[in-house]
């Protein structure tokens, strides 16, 4: 690639390319910047701000901000980690999260981030909103109680499945996930094989009849924190393995 340059992330100098986001550049060098609304393979939108870093002192979303030559990025500072904690705690209290019976527990990115950030319990009072569950589809359940409005399903359905099954209505605290039908998911073109169904970071969109198949202890975040694979890949790279 032409015109490659370097940036530093938390004091480490790493390569980056024009147009590459801070998050992508960091990830390619084995530095994990927490994220929720961003997922590899879809267009970043900067909705959740969990990836917030300081770039040359300015507060930016690492998933959308392009890296520029000699940029100095801070990610793991006390200030930024504390902001991320607050954001994650707010996401918990804005929805209705009962991890003890949630099918996504152990592989949920919101929960995984809370573990990684060392959150024992949200410090804020819960809102306990009333949200709708849509179980109309034979193979998919949509539980808005757990939706964090990240938009990953929307973008995946639109850009990868070419379907536009999901969208948002309302603003601010009234924003909620809508489906492309008068009311029910069953009346949309959603299919259980859609990539959008697997794009949800939390237990808001789930495939039916799959619950609790992985024993506690073997689930992705039971042993290793979220982001560990990014960091492990870096170790492989340092030892001479290929960078992905």
């Amino acid at each position: 690639m032409s015109d490659r340059f370097t940036i530093t992330v938390d004091g480490r100098e790493i390569p980056a390319a024009p147009g590459q986001t801070i998050l992508a550049a960091a990830q390619a060098s084995g530095i994990y910047i927490p994220r929720l609304c961003h997922m590899d393979g879809i267009e970043p939108v900067g909705a959740c701000r969990v990836c917030t870093v300081r770039a040359n002192g300015r507060v930016v979303a690492a998933c959308t901000q392009p890296a520029t030559a000699s940029m100095v990025v801070q990610s793991q500072t006390d200030e930024l980690v504390s902001w991320r904690r607050q954001l994650v705690e707010m996401l918990f209290v804005e929805g209705n999260h009962f991890c003890m019976f949630c099918e996504k527990s152990g592989s949920c990115e919101l929960q995984g981030l809370a573990y990684r950030l060392g959150i024992a319990a949200p410090r804020y009072e819960s809102i306990w909103p009333r949200r709708e569950v849509d179980a109309s589809h034979p193979d998919i359940i949509l539980d808005r109680n757990r939706c964090i409005l990240c938009g990953r399903c929307e973008r995946t359905s639109r850009d990868l499945d070419g379907k536009h099954v999901f969208g948002f209505v309302g603003r601010g605290i009234h924003k909620r996930l809508a489906v492309n039908a008068r009311a029910r998911l069953a009346d949309t073109g959603a299919d259980v094989t859609d990539l959008a169904i697997g794009a949800c970071p939390v237990g808001a969109i789930l495939r039916k009849n799959r619950a609790y198949r992985t024993p506690v202890g073997d689930r992705p975040f039971d042993r290793e924190p979220i982001g560990a694979p990014v960091e492990t890949r870096a170790e492989l790279t340092i030892n001479g393995g290929p960078a992905s």
Partner: protein
């Protein structure tokens, strides 16, 4: 020197966290060597006998009795630990927070599928503790010093926390011991 005292209570919980305390197995013997149990369902002691070093709180607060017990624990214990998701976040009992309280009463006493109540009476006896508007985590009622999530927290997590507190060390739980389920 007298042994430090531990008290425990189950507020709006299911006793699962207490089961997990018992689940420390033979380490219970080690524990009773170094501590004295005060007010606790484990000993069935109903009233505080003295100042306690540690109070383990299972369950959040669903009614005024829970609040009174929790406040008594705060008064009698140096360190309060919220034990489990109900104490730290409300847990399963907080499912009722999604339903207005009169609807809860109607479902419990009148409309429930297994309810026989032809006179449609909702009990209002003074003996019955008043329900709070919402089930609340313990730290919304009194100051809580430590939070130990889990449904229930594993016996290993409880052991690690209690032994650290007894030896005045910071609670430093390995990643694998912090769980919300």
């Amino acid at each position: 020197m007298s042994k430090p005292r531990i008290a425990t209570c189950s507020l709006a919980g299911c006793f699962g966290c207490h089961m997990s305390v018992l689940d420390i197995d033979e380490r219970l013997l080690e524990l009773v060597d170094v501590v004295e149990f005060d007010k606790s369902p484990i000993t069935d002691i109903k009233k505080f006998d003295g100042r306690c070093r540690i109070g383990l709180i299972e369950g959040g607060c669903a009614n005024e009795e829970n609040v009174a017990v929790l406040r008594a624990f705060r008064r009698h214990c140096d360190i309060l630990v919220s034990l489990g998701d109900c104490a730290t976040m409300g847990g399963i009992p907080a499912l009722r927070n999604l339903v207005p309280i009169d609807e809860c009463f109607r479902e419990a006493y009148i409309d429930g599928p297994s309810t026989h109540n032809p006179a449609k009476i909702i009990p209002r006896d003074v003996e019955l503790p008043l329900l709070l508007d919402k089930v609340r985590p313990a730290h919304e009622i009194v100051r809580i010093d430590y939070l130990l999530p889990g449904c229930p927290p594993s016996a290993d997590a409880i052991w690690a926390a209690v032994t650290a507190l007894l030896s005045d060390k910071p609670i430093d739980l390995p990643y694998q011991l912090i769980k919300y389920d």
